[in-house]
């Protein structure tokens, strides 16, 4: 469904993404892993159509990532990106306006679970609340590809279960969710395929349950093995 073909992107001579080739299939939750600077965010930005690679391409059902695929792709960046002048209600209306696949009932349900009031101004949100709002907005879209960059950042321990549940509920047979996170413990249970990047290159991709069965090591141990 989502194909990364020899994607290469360089920044001032350093290769942020170096010949990345792999396939993303629907019905799976992927963990995109690697230390800072390994190229995860860059790849996600290319896959979402935000930036263009130097070489290679990412295609969604054969269509190059860009204007047309943005309607079916969701990218949740690490930064806080909502307009400060908006209230939560305005954020909802914004996404309803631009995206046909935005599911308002799901958004309102998440707001209720997080105990948010639609009248609250974005500018007054704490970083934790902002992180939750980003998740709520992102997961309310019924997209083909979800690219979540560090979705657990800033989310307190108790709220993480809600986030995990929301992600699991979103998984379907015609969409794929790709999560990059430092908090690998959270990913251990929900991710079924892991993609490890190092210096922009793909060093390992595999099904986690198989790795557990054959090597008897957890995702965390595998991570340590690969990057120590």
């Amino acid at each position: 469904m989502l194909e990364s073909n020899h994607v290469t992107k360089k920044y001032r001579r350093k290769a942020a993404n170096d010949d990345l080739t792999f396939s993303i299939e629907p019905g799976h939750i992927y963990g995109l892993l690697g230390p800072n600077g390994s190229g995860k965010s860059t790849w996600m930005k290319i896959a979402s159509g935000l930036i263009v690679p130097d070489r290679g391409e990412v295609t969604l059902d054969g269509v190059r990532a860009g204007r047309q695929t943005k309607a079916h792709t969701v990218y949740m960046a690490t930064e806080d990106y909502f307009f400060n002048y908006m209230k939560i209600r305005d954020v909802r209306r914004y996404y309803e306006d631009f995206f046909d696949d935005f599911e308002t009932p799901m958004f309102l349900k998440q707001l209720e679970e997080m105990e948010f009031d639609e009248d609250t101004k974005v500018a007054s949100l704490s970083s934790g609340m902002m992180a939750k709002l980003k998740i709520a907005v992102t997961m309310s879209r019924r997209a083909r590809v979800y690219l979540l960059d560090e979705p657990f950042n800033g989310i307190d321990l108790l709220a993480r279960d809600t986030v995990v549940k929301t992600i699991l509920e979103r998984m379907s047979d015609d969409s794929a969710i790709i999560i990059s996170s430092h908090l690998i413990e959270e990913l251990e249970k929900i991710v079924d395929t892991c993609i490890f990047l190092k210096d922009g290159r793909l060093i390992l991709m595999g099904e986690i349950e198989e790795i557990r069965q054959q090597q008897g090591c957890s995702l965390i141990e595998l991570y340590k093995k690969l990057y120590a």
Partner: protein, 248 residues
């Protein structure tokens, strides 16, 4: 694209409320003092209106550029550029919105000024001769009759010029955020780049003027086309940089 413009307008609505609120207040004061023939107070009202007009123009001109800077620095750009449109459609919408705002402000203040001056003329016949005098001055300096054609051409040129100014400003900001990501005082640096680009633009424009015939309309058309081309180039460069270099 209209949806993007819609949200640019919504984003800028607060300043409009303030501007037009103040305008309404000052206009009311003007009308009252005109009716009551309190010429001193009326003078202050006129001064207030003129000052408000000046500041409003200045602010509205800058507002789109300020917003774009916010998009790049506060990362609200993610919200805008992840919408299902191409970079060029999005930039185009922002620049168009900037024009719409300026034109709207010009129209509102222009109509108000026209009405106020008309009212003054009705009250005070001696101003009529002043208007004729002003027209003579304009004729002398610009070698031009204040005809409909010339007014339209001036307006068209003003719009084209404004588009290119905003496009150059956007480009200056993008350049700073792309290549000088770690620099402090990005707005100041962008401003310097903006001035530099404008200087280059003027120099190129002068060269073109040298090879054109000397009448007003040839020069107007020449400048118009060149400036429009520069604007298009800036928007294209801007979009290219955003998608290649990831200013966000």
């Amino acid at each position: 694209m209209l949806t993007i413009m819609k949200y640019e307008i919504i984003r800028q609505k607060f300043s409009k409320w303030i501007m037009f609120g103040l305008l309404a207040v000052l206009e009311a004061v003007f009308l009252i003092t005109l009716a009551l023939e309190k010429s001193d107070a009326m003078g202050y009202a006129i001064l207030g209106l003129a000052t408000l007009a000046m500041f409003s123009f200045l602010y509205v001109s800058l507002e789109s550029i300020i917003n774009y800077n916010q998009d790049l620095s506060r990362k609200s750009g993610y919200m805008v550029f992840m919408t299902p449109y191409s970079v060029f459609e999005i930039l185009g919408a922002k620049i168009l919105n900037s024009i719409v705002m300026i034109v709207m402000t010009a129209v509102v203040f222009g109509v108000t000024a026209f009405l106020d001056i008309t009212l003054l003329l009705i009250k005070n016949h001696s101003l009529e001769s002043l208007m004729i005098y002003i027209n003579d001055i304009i004729k002398q300096f610009t070698d031009l009759d204040v005809t409909p054609a010339s007014i339209i051409s001036v307006l068209v040129l003003a719009v084209i010029f404004w588009i290119s100014t905003v496009a150059i400003a956007f480009l200056a900001l993008t350049l700073t955020y792309t290549f000088l990501q770690t620099a402090p005082a990005k707005v100041f640096i962008s401003f310097l780049i903006f001035i530099g680009l404008n200087v280059l633009h003027s120099m190129a424009n002068n060269e073109i003027m040298k090879v054109l015939p000397k009448d007003y309309f040839s020069r107007a058309i020449g400048t118009g086309i060149f400036t429009a081309a520069i604007a298009a180039l800036c928007v294209w460069l801007n979009g290219w940089m955003l998608t290649r270099k990831m200013a966000l």
